[in-house]
């Protein structure tokens, strides 16, 4: 088989016994929608960069995944988003980290690659850059979801000093990172 696109929506403690049929169907539906969005770009003769951006925007706009709308919360109750993109033809790359107001960070990463002389921008500067190049800016409240907020409260209650991995395991705990044995994104 010749593949033209692969995607992931995060790895972790994902067990069938813990997944409702409705939730499983929702995940499959969004992953399928994301693949279709990227494939439509490729089929239309657009670039692989266009396909990657279109695909990831679908996943960022869906609250099931830990990116964009579904981002988890920091200890301070904020959503800090990171993204990167790279072009295999030119080896150009762009990234943003710790942004809080950009609706689709993958588009900001691409803008850094194509519209700045830099590779990575962080924090408030990256948010400002995204605004200046015309990307969609949202109130940080846009990223608030009940499930993620409750996840933060649970994490703080269990041990306020430890960050929680999407990907925890017993082994993780040996390294000082809390494993709550479920997945946040």
């Amino acid at each position: 088989k010749k593949y033209v696109m692969v995607i992931h929506g995060g790895a972790g403690t994902i067990l069938k016994k813990n997944m409702s049929a409705e939730k499983e169907a929702a995940y499959i539906a969004v992953l399928t929608q994301a693949l279709q969005a990227g494939y439509a770009e490729i089929k239309a003769g657009k670039t692989s960069l266009d396909a990657v951006e279109a695909t990831i925007r679908v996943l960022e706009n869906d609250p099931h995944f830990n990116a964009g709308k579904g981002a988890v919360f920091t200890h301070d109750g904020r959503n800090e988003l990171d993204a990167a993109i790279m072009d295999g033809k030119t080896l150009m790359a762009g990234a943003v980290a710790g942004v809080t107001t950009i609706k689709n960070p993958i588009s900001a990463a691409r803008a850094v690659m194509e519209k700045s002389e830099h590779v990575m921008l962080v924090g408030a500067g990256a948010d400002l850059f995204a605004k200046e190049v015309g990307l969609e800016i949202v109130d940080p409240k846009y990223f608030w979801t009940k499930e993620r907020w409750e996840g933060l409260q649970k994490a703080i209650k269990e041990d306020s000093t430890k960050a929680v991995l999407d990907h925890g395991s017993k082994k993780s705990e040996l390294f000082g990172v809390k494993n709550l044995d479920y997945k946040f994104g």
């Binding site: 696109m5 692969v6 995607i7 992931h8 067990l15 069938k16 920091t74 990171d82 790279m86």
Partner: protein, 133 residues
């Protein structure tokens, strides 16, 4: 974390990753997703890679670029190079997974957790989506 690698009609690869990081993180912690070479890398001569997992391990192992380097310098296949990289993360105590695609249209999606939300589409539009091991 979410990620995508695509191969267009002109034979060019691109890779991207986006994430909300870790719940309850402090101090402006940043993981591997936005670090070029760690969580995201792409080279037409080798492969496009997007990682998901315990970022600190992916940063220290420069996982995405390592896969490309193993292919470029040792002539390994995409699957072989990806397995070596993910196994190294596992041996150090990290976990997670990755997706990778090469210019020939070969793909691999290794992970060492119980599951990974993942999917692929072939040149003729056939979709495969999986969640569990």
């Amino acid at each position: 974390t979410v990620g995508c690698v695509a191969l267009d009609k002109a034979g060019n690869l691109a890779a991207g990753t986006s994430t909300g990081g870790m719940t309850n993180k402090k101090y402006g912690r940043v993981g591997d997703a936005p670090i070029i070479g760690a969580g995201t890398y792409c080279n037409n001569q080798t492969a496009g890679v997007s990682c998901t997992g315990w970022g600190e391990f992916y940063i220290r192992n420069v996982v995405a670029k390592t896969i490309s380097d193993l292919m470029e310098y040792k002539g390994l296949s995409l699957a072989e190079a990806s397995k070596i990289a993910i196994d190294k993360v596992d041996k150090m105590g990290g976990n997670g997974g990755l997706i990778a695609l090469d210019k020939q249209g070969n793909m691999t999606m290794p992970f060492n957790t119980e599951g990974m939300y993942r999917g692929a589409i072939t040149a003729d539009g056939k979709i495969e989506v999986s969640i569990y091991k």
